[in-house]
């Protein structure tokens, strides 16, 4: 259902007003309702809830603005990557890192460094450094939030690795 006021956006606010015993239904979009001075914040704060979890979606855009040389490993061209939105081989992440990092940044809402599972057979010095950095950050957070039991636990873990 479209907004009764602007007739453009989807109506998300549904009001039933009773004046002088007369019942009147109004269907408005959020911006028109706000212009009308109707408080919309009392409704479900789902936006807030979801915001933390989900990144805003970047508009459909090309990975590469201009053409560059194909990947020497799999020969995929930047044009083909733009068309199918899929890479040719794992090495592409290295070879086209500059353009890819921009896209990843946008999709991942600023998440830059992997901090999840690491395959056991690929666990090395870099992994350890990253893990250590993550633990130290968690420790600082625990201290500022006065979660001292967690902090002690984290400190033990850090000294164990070091």
């Amino acid at each position: 259902m479209n907004c009764q006021n602007c007739n453009k956006n989807t109506a998300t606010i549904h009001l039933t007003e009773i004046t002088n015993g007369k019942r009147q239904e109004r269907h408005l979009c959020e911006s028109c309702a706000q212009n009308d001075g109707i408080a919309v914040n009392a409704q479900i704060p789902l936006n807030d809830l979801l915001n933390n979890l989900l990144a805003a979606q970047p508009k459909d855009q090309n990975v590469f603005d201009s053409e560059s040389t194909p990947c020497p490993k799999c020969n995929i061209t930047t044009d083909k990557i733009n068309k199918q939105a899929l890479l040719g081989c794992p090495e592409d992440y290295d070879i086209f890192s500059e353009s890819l990092n921009k896209i990843i940044d946008k999709y991942q809402d600023g998440g830059k460094v992997h901090c999840g599972k690491v395959p056991q057979n690929q666990y090395d010095k870099t992994t350890q450094d990253l893990e250590l950095a993550n633990l130290k950050q968690a420790l600082e957070e625990a201290i500022t939030q006065e979660r001292y039991e967690d902090a002690a636990h984290l400190r033990d873990k850090i000294s164990q690795i070091q």
């Binding site: 989807t10 109506a11 998300t12 549904h14 409704q43 479900i44 789902l46 936006n47 809830l49 979801l50 915001n51 933390n52 979890l53 989900l54 990144a55 805003a56 979606q57 990975v63 799999c74 995929i76 199918q84 939105a85 899929l86 890479l87 040719g88 081989c89 794992p90 992440y93 890819l100 896209i103 990843i104 999709y107 991942q108 809402d109 600023g110 998440g111 830059k112 460094v113 992997h114 901090c115 999840g116 599972k117 690491v118 395959p119 056991q120 057979n121 690929q122 090395d124 870099t126 992994t127 990253l130």
Partner: protein, 353 residues
């Protein structure tokens, strides 16, 4: 799991309704993985695709899930077999449409599936009834680790698991929950949820009747961010923060309807039951809509002689490919509607508790 027998019964995992069954239908976790020294599937020739399949097949069949699972060659499967697997959420449309060597390894209870040569070399999922994301993660993580002992996955210390599409890098995880939200829809609050999720490109899809306009009252919600956050944290955020809120809103809306719109609610529920028990022709959209109302009636305690498992079974078995399998041949749309109505009538009259 035998491919010739699927389609006549509901998936084993789906016979149980799980925890928080009032609102949460199912939990699902999917991991995307690629082998390090191969090109991504879309850029491979047949030979390389075959090499990927044999390496992964051998590794997966040697894990603890191996003895309980079976490999299905999708490249040689019939159209009906592929559609059955799609309707049961065991393979994706993408895998079905892809060309060249590709397959799936499916466990006997259908809770575990590994798709080979989909968008990534390996995409595996665990699906369980109700709110069981922790359990899904335990299982899929364990099998992933077992595979990692034999296969070197494409992995980068900074970017994590490398995927064919750059939007999945990091953990390569997709955590999804299927929700039944009839009261939020009836009280028109669902538009708010839908708008919010659309803006943030949450995957919102129907569990059944995919590809039609009718979402029914079923919604799938899943994470999009995969980099810079731990698997456990993604799961915890959904299970501890977001989902309890949505469940609470749905239950409050149901309570509101019970108190203020009881006759409207009872009319919807008993009208749905009346039609389902007596109709001789019923299309998939109508069946989805009416079964959803019946499910709400059971959840609200208004219908006591039918259980959720029966409804789950009807959702699954009245889909087009399942009907054709049941009939043993192709059906015209009219014949499908007739058979669908017959199955529903029979089930509801014989499966009363």
């Amino acid at each position: 799991m035998n491919i010739d027998n699927i389609g006549t019964k509901v998936s084993k995992w789906f016979q149980d309704s799980g925890e928080s069954p009032q609102v949460i239908i199912s939990s699902r976790i999917r991991l995307a993985r690629n082998i390090s020294n191969h090109r991504f599937t879309a850029h491979c020739d047949h030979q390389e695709k075959n090499a990927i399949i044999s390496e992964l097949k051998m590794a997966i069949l040697q894990t603890s899930i191996g003895p309980l699972a079976q490999y299905i060659d999708i490249a040689t499967a019939s159209q009906l077999q592929k559609e059955l697997l799609i309707e049961r959420h065991l393979i994706s449309k993408h895998l079905c449409r892809n060309r060249g060597p590709r397959g799936a390894i499916i466990s006997e209870d259908e809770a575990f599936t590994a798709m080979l040569n989909e968008e990534d070399h390996l995409r595996m999922q665990v699906i369980l009834p109700g709110l069981r994301l922790d359990q899904c993660w335990d299982v899929v993580n364990r099998i992933d680790t077992e595979i990692e002992n034999q296969v070197r996955f494409a992995f980068d210390q900074r970017l994590g698991y490398l995927t064919a599409c750059p939007t999945n890098v990091g953990t390569g995880i997709r955590v999804s929950l299927m929700l039944h939200l009839p009261a939020l829809k009836m009280t028109k609050q669902i538009e708010k949820l839908l708008n919010a999720t659309k803006e943030m490109k949450l995957a919102v899809r129907g569990l059944f009747g995919e590809g039609t306009d009718a979402l029914g009252d079923f919604f799938q919600i899943s994470n999009q961010i995969t980099l810079g956050i731990k698997e456990e944290d993604i799961i915890a955020k959904l299970t501890q923060k977001l989902i309890p809120k949505i469940v609470e809103y749905e239950l409050v809306a149901r309570e509101h309807l019970l108190r203020h719109e009881n006759s409207l609610l009872e009319d919807k529920i008993y009208r749905a039951r009346g039609i389902l028990e007596n109709a001789y022709l019923i299309n998939s959209k109508e069946a989805l809509f009416l079964l959803s109302n019946l499910r709400l009636g059971i959840n609200l305690g208004k219908i006591k002689d039918i259980d959720i498992a029966t409804i789950n079974e009807l959702f699954m078995l009245t889909q087009p490919a399942h009907l054709q399998k049941n009939a043993g041949g192709s059906l015209t749309p009219n014949e499908r509607d007739e058979l669908r109505a017959k199955i529903i009538r029979n089930k509801l009259s014989t499966h009363k508790i």
